[in-house]
């Protein structure tokens, strides 16, 4: 066979350009994969949208003090949606690729591990932005919600921050939980955590003791940061919420790193 005689007409790209290309292809295909996996894309986009239509739009005329409930709930469901995309996209996706041996095949190639993680994280951010954009469109079209351009930009910015933060939790879950139980376990963490931190029903309408539990949850601090954009946050300082979210992210990354190295040693 003449396979060896094949020449390579294009000059070899520089390492930097090639690395950039690996990152972009890895990200593109990770995103395409998630988009085409209907069980993921339909449910992560569908659930927050459906809930917001049911509970948010229904409250289009409701006002409590100076708070427009439909707008308040837009903040909550934006967080609910982006957290779901990060936890399911990375937690469940990575767990199953680990279990199936697919990640092992990629690790045997010269693919930089950072490209793989970047692709997962970037796709979570992309899904977060899609979900939040759809929610904003519905809220402004049917919920009587008005957003200033600054609020809109800040919401998208907070979506990026939140997606990255919860991507770290997805990573840790992927390393800890068995693939065949991943969806169930992620739901068991995600749904109660969302409810308890007021992503579904504004926290101010919840029993008092529950309001005391919420600040222990990272989801609560993300939602308060989101609500702060509208001036709807609680009386805790903004810095507290930022510190809590950043601290949570670093704890997740640190635990992931430890777990990964423990696994490496046992491999």
């Amino acid at each position: 066979m003449a396979t060896a005689a094949i020449s390579h007409p294009q000059p070899a790209a520089t390492d930097f350009v090639r690395t950039l290309r690996i990152f972009s292809k890895e990200t593109k295909y990770e995103f395409l994969k998630l988009m085409r996996t209907k069980s993921f894309s339909l449910s992560t986009i569908g659930f927050p949208v459906m809930f917001y239509v049911l509970f948010g739009i229904a409250n289009r005329n409701a006002v409590s003090g100076n708070i427009h409930i439909a707008k308040y709930m837009l903040g909550g469901y934006a967080c609910f949606g982006l957290i779901g995309a990060a936890l399911f996209g990375i937690g469940v996706g990575l767990a199953s690729e680990l279990a199936a041996g697919w990640l092992e095949l990629k690790r045997a190639s010269p693919m930089p591990a950072s490209a793989y993680l970047f692709a997962k994280c970037a796709s979570a951010v992309a899904f977060g932005l899609i979900i939040v954009s759809i929610l904003i469109a519905i809220a402004t079209a049917f919920g009587g919600v008005s957003l200033s351009p600054a609020e809109f930009i800040k919401m998208l910015g907070m979506t990026i921050v939140g997606s990255i933060s919860f991507a770290s939790m997805g990573l840790l879950l992927a390393l800890l939980i068995p693939a065949n139980a991943a969806t169930g376990i992620v739901n068991l963490i995600y749904l109660p955590m969302s409810f308890l931190s007021g992503l579904w029903i504004p926290i101010r309408f919840m029993p008092h003791w529950l309001q005391g539990v919420a600040p222990a949850l990272p989801t609560y601090h993300l939602s308060q940061l989101m609500l702060h954009i509208f001036g709807y946050a609680d009386d805790m300082s903004l810095a507290t919420h930022w510190n809590a979210l950043i601290g949570f992210t670093f704890v997740m990354l640190g635990l992931s790193w430890l777990t990964f190295h423990r696994k490496e040693q046992n491999a």
């Binding site: 066979m1 396979t3 060896a4 094949i6 390579h8 070899a12 090639r18 290309r21 690996i22 292809k25 890895e26 295909y29 395409l32 994969k33 085409r36 996996t37 199953s96 690729e97 279990a99 199936a100 041996g101 697919w102 092992e104 095949l105 690790r107 045997a108 190639s109 010269p110 693919m111 930089p112 490496e264 040693q265 046992n266 491999a267």
Partner: protein
């Protein structure tokens, strides 16, 4: 009996065997031990892979074949021992760029198309083969736009083979490459593996189709319980594992045949006698001399499988 076919394939593999005098190695494992808790997966395993050769790693389940490959790929760290691939640590990017692997993968990203999988893996390597070339070698023409999840078992294996050769590697590891393929697809993959070897590339494959090792390999390494128990050409392995068999209709008695030198067993199947011996010529001469009614004569080399079973049983 597919014995004749096997014999033919063996010869053709032996013909283009590289000169074994070239002693520099692409990869070596030196005295590798790997323990998982109390279980010992590899126990002082050493092996070397030379340019252009096809080496088959044979062994029963749990013998340590996959572990050996994972250590060579730098995916698993040995408990002790030295791994060298192209003279360096297998985990370096420069080494990985020259290595291709086909592992036993339970599930691949099913939502991506064949073309997309290849496009992605090509991007990992500094000097990948052209896409058309990969598609041709792995025989994926016509299914490039199918999602991986829609492919048959054999087609999936061919895609994994395509990913292994994407980067135009010099050293290729194939873990059970032809599982799920029909005989025609298997033979054409063998042909592609031979042509890789003809280009000077080294192929290490594990398989439990022993005829595959027989047909393809220049060298067979039989491992059991984590150590090498036999190593050589398929013909040498067969010789170590027992003699040839003579099958015929004869009126000579079992008792008489057993008294002949170098006869290890005499069995009757459907009226024919099967004599196993390490010295078939002498025994045949004797038998023909004593029985002129002897008919339906066949002499066969044992399948590598029998030799393999004999070797692993004894170890």
């Amino acid at each position: 009996m597919p014995l004749s076919a096997i014999a033919y394939e063996t010869e053709s593999a032996a013909e283009d065997a590289p000169a074994t005098t070239q002693r520099q190695s692409f990869a070596t494992l030196t005295n590798i031990t790997k323990r998982y808790g109390a279980t010992v997966a590899l126990n002082g395993l050493s092996l070397a892979l030379h340019p252009g050769e096809i080496v088959a790693l044979l062994g029963p389940n749990g013998a340590g074949k996959s572990t050996a490959i994972k250590i060579l790929l730098g995916l698993v760290a040995p408990t002790s021992g030295i791994t060298r691939v192209f003279g360096s640590d297998p985990r370096t990017t420069a080494t990985r760029a020259r290595v291709g692997a086909m592992l036993q993968v339970a599930r691949v990203t099913e939502a991506l198309r064949v073309r997309e999988h290849i496009d992605l893996f090509r991007s990992y390597y500094p000097h990948p083969l052209p896409t058309a070339e990969i598609t041709r070698i792995a025989q994926l023409q016509g299914i490039e736009d199918r999602a991986f999840g829609q492919l048959s078992g054999g087609q999936k294996q061919r895609v994994l083979f395509a990913l292994a050769i994407c980067g135009n590697p010099d050293l290729i590891f194939l873990d059970e490459p032809t599982v799920g393929m029909d005989i025609e697809a298997r033979r054409s993959l063998w042909q592609q593996i031979r042509s890789l070897s003809a280009q000077g590339k080294t192929v290490l494959l594990t398989t439990h189709y022993i005829e595959e090792a027989d047909a393809l390999a220049h060298r067979v390494i039989v491992i059991n319980k984590g150590r090498v128990i036999s190593e050589g050409t398929p013909a040498e392995i067969k010789r170590n594992g027992g003699g040839r068999t003579i099958r015929c209709h004869t009126n000579l008695s079992r008792e008489f045949l057993l008294t002949l030198p170098n006869v290890s067993s005499v069995e009757f199947f459907e009226g024919a006698v099967v004599v196993t011996t390490s010295d078939a010529e002498t025994i045949l001469r004797e038998m023909l001399l004593r029985d002129d009614t002897l008919s339906d004569l066949e002499v066969a080399s044992p399948a590598l499988e029998d030799a393999f079973l004999a070797l692993t049983r004894n170890s």
